[in-house]
Amino acid sequence: MSMSPIPKSQNAEDRTPGNLAPGLRVLVVEDNRVMGDVMRFNFDRAGFSTAVALNGRLAWDLLQAETFALLVTDLQMPEMDGRELCRRIRADSRLVHLPIILLTAKGLEIDRDQLTRELGLNLILYKPFSPRQLVAAAAECVAGHVATVEPAIS
């Protein structure tokens, strides 16, 4: 499986907005409002139905209440961070196969492979990232092209 931060698909910009993932629910967890807004804009444009949560705890609440096809989360957030949120998801039988894309402003200071295995991530993207690539990667994830990594947590 390819764990490249940059998905190979370069088709996203050619596709007509709105038909990439019609009606699929994506949950964006991001404590920076400005960043959350631009992600919502891009996902909505691509045809996703987007919800934004400001931290892990709010996201967890939403996950309990609704069903999402994809989770895009920041790592460092107040109250409940991305790490804890992912652990909870992978420990939950209903959510264990939910595709997760992790966005992080951390670079070399995190161990990418170790984190991928530990949290059962589908993809890690580093900030600053390209919104186009994020949307394309999200489309691939929901299409099952990027496999969910079995969580290694006990």
């Binding site: 910009e13 907005p17 404590d31 920076n32 400005v34 960043m35 631009v38 992600m39 804009f41 891009n42 444009r45 400001l54 460092q76 107040p78 402003a105 951390k106 670079g107 200071e109 580093y126 900030k127 600053p128 990232f129 390209s130 919104p131 186009r132």
Partner: protein, 610 residues
């Protein structure tokens, strides 16, 4: 004090003894020679005289027989004329002088009885005035025979020469005189021996000194029979004293050495690093106090253990040492220096020890000892961690606005954002994110100027008013951008301060910047400067978000940032306040903070006037 000695040198003395004895012996021999010579001559004289006497006796006898004795008186007188003859006579058988050198006495009765043996030599002895005297006259008696009939006795008295008498008496002691040279030689030998014996003893001791180590040799005193001996004894005494002094000096230096060693040990014990010395089996030969303290082991136990036991003791049952395989293999090679880090849990607090092993090989390459040095690098590790945290935090804070700028710019570049309002909104966001980024870079620089050389102050006379105004000018753009109300109350006259201008300025900018950062739009920020007799108080007050009491206690810790989302939304490193506090402290001042959540904060920086 030297004895007043007028002394003849040893050589002269020996020569004198030698000459004296030699000459004495020669003289004695000469005397003997003279004696024997005179004896020989005496004997010769006596022999010829006796021959003359004999001839006279024969002539008398012949005359008696042939001529009836008419020539007798003449013959006697002839003999009596001889130099050595005192008198001369012929005694007839009836005891009268038939002839005499003194013609008057012819016919007279012989005064001395005719000896029984009618021939030979007789020493004349008389009793005169009741005293027995020996006359210096020898008397010769010769029997006269006319044919077979005895016809009288020839009597000849000869003078015994005085010298001859002395010599004769001396000759009586001839055996003694013969012994004299021997005795003189023996005496001389004895004198030489006496003189040489001391020299020999001195030489003996000197030889002993030369052949044995100075300390082992003992020097004996000599019996003080002469100045040489007393001089030697004095020398011995001095040397002995010196030896004693040398001993004293040695023991003193030993004691001093002990003191030096103690000092060295004191110094070693004062070191914060642990120092230990181990032999080739790892047994501890020496360990200073810090060694046991750092390892958390009672000092008494150190000497009973090996260094490995001590270092890895806390790891307990598991044989796995908390060091890498590389270090293990290095440790097994005893001649290699090794440096490694040893994690240690002491009193529940994780610590890290840096352990260095340096081999110490003596010249022979025989015995191998190791110097171990352990240092507590927990603080260093914490500092490294803090630095790494800071870099990570700064990187995160830089990437966040960058990510926004990139995301919005790329989105804007898409063809389908045609709505002018959206475009304007996006551009505004990009602008504000860029501003935020620029501000954070400023803050980093500010922090860097605070941190740079934080241990040393570059104090200089500083115009305080100007310093304050410059700080205000630095934050004014942000104040205006946020639409904050800014007031400052500064006395018109402020004293010059001897401070590190750059650091204090950075601290002020940091305080003002914080106030601006954490005060929502429409709030107030004020700067209030007051002077007391001893210090200058610079207060920065805001009507911002404030802090909880819990956060307040931590704000001066490095890298602390509140969990408050309003704080989290604002980029920051969590290092500024800790540096402001450091600046205050290094200037001998302090930082006071009052804050109330949701109401605002007041930071006051106190700086001593002198």
């Amino acid at each position: 004090m030297p004895a007043p000695v007028s002394h003849i040198s040893l050589v002269r003395r020996l020569l004198g003894h030698y000459l004296m004895c030699g000459l004495g012996a020669v003289a004695a021999l000469g005397l003997g020679l003279a004696l024997s010579t005179s004896g020989v001559f005496g004997a010769h004289r006596t022999h010829s005289f006796l021959e003359q006497v004999e001839q006279t006796a024969q002539a008398i006898a012949a005359d008696e027989t042939d001529h009836g004795g008419e020539q007798v008186q003449l013959l006697v007188e002839q003999l009596g004329a001889a130099e050595t003859v005192a008198y001369c006579a012929v005694v007839s058988a009836d005891g009268t002088y038939r002839a005499h050198s003194c013609p008057a006495r012819v016919g007279q009765k012989c005064d001395a009885p005719v000896p029984a043996s009618r021939s030979g030599i007789h020493r004349l002895e008389r009793i005169e005035n009741g005293r027995h005297v020996v006359l210096p006259i020898d008397e010769y008696w010769v029997s006269l025979k006319a044919g077979t009939a005895e016809c009288g006795t020839l009597l000849v008295g000869t003078h015994v020469a005085r010298e001859t008498g002395f010599m004769a008496r001396l000759a009586d002691h001839a055996p003694t005189i013969m012994l004299l040279p021997v005795a003189i030689l023996l005496l001389g030998g004895q004198m030489l021996r006496c003189t040489a014996r001391q020299s020999s003893k001195i030489e003996e001791q000197l030889l002993q000194l030369s052949s044995s180590p100075a300390s082992a040799a003992t020097i004996d005193r000599l019996p003080e029979i002469n100045p040489t001996a007393s001089g030697w004894n004095r020398l011995v005494a001095r040397v002995t004293n010196q030896a004693t002094e040398a001993n004293l000096a040695a023991s003193l230096s030993k004691a001093l050495g002990g003191v030096r060693e103690q000092k060295a040990e004191k110094v070693l014990n004062k070191l914060s690093d642990g120092i230990a010395l181990s032999d080739q089996y790892g047994r501890v030969l020496f360990a200073n106090r810090s060694f046991s303290t750092l390892l958390g082991i009672a000092a008494e136990r150190i000497s009973e253990s090996t260094v490995f036991e001590l270092l890895f003791e806390n790891e307990g049952a598991s044989d796995e040492l908390p060091v890498s395989d590389e270090v293990k293999s290095q440790l097994s090679q005893e001649t290699l220096p090794v440096v490694f880090e040893l994690p240690r849990g002491t009193d529940g607090v994780a610590g890290v020890l840096r352990v260095a092993r340096q081999p110490l090989i003596d010249e022979g390459g025989q015995s191998l000892t190791h110097i171990w040095q352990i240092r507590d690098i927990s603080q260093q590790k914490l500092a490294e961690q803090a630095r790494s945290d800071f870099v990570n935090s700064a990187a995160h804070e830089l990437r966040t606005p960058l990510a926004n700028i990139k995301a919005y710019a790329e989105t804007l570049a898409l063809d389908d954002v045609t709505d002018l309002e959206s475009q304007k909104g996006f551009l505004n966001i990009i602008n504000s994110e860029a501003t935020r980024l620029a501000r954070f870079v400023d803050e980093l620089l500010n922090i860097s100027s605070l941190e740079c050389g934080s241990l040393s102050l570059n104090r200089q006379q500083t115009d305080t008013l100007r310093l304050l105004n410059e700080a205000i000018e630095k934050v004014r753009p942000q104040v205006q951008q946020k639409g904050l109300e800014f007031t400052s109350v500064i006395p018109p006259k402020l004293p010059e301060l001897s401070i590190d201008k750059d650091k204090v300025a950075a601290a002020l900018v940091n305080l003002l910047g914080n106030a601006v950062k954490y005060t929502p739009e429409g709030g107030k920020v004020s700067l209030h400067v007051a002077q007391t007799p001893t210090e200058l108080a610079v207060s920065v007050e805001d009507t911002g978000i404030g802090m909880s009491a819990q956060d307040l206690s931590k704000i001066c810790q490095k890298f602390f940032r509140s969990e408050d989302p309003r704080v989290r939304d604002i980029p920051g490193s969590g290092i500024g306040l800790s540096l402001v506090q450091e600046v205050a402290r290094s200037h001998g001042g302090r930082l006071e903070v009052h804050s109330e959540l949701n109401k605002g904060s007041k930071f006051t920086l106190f700086i001593p006037l002198s």
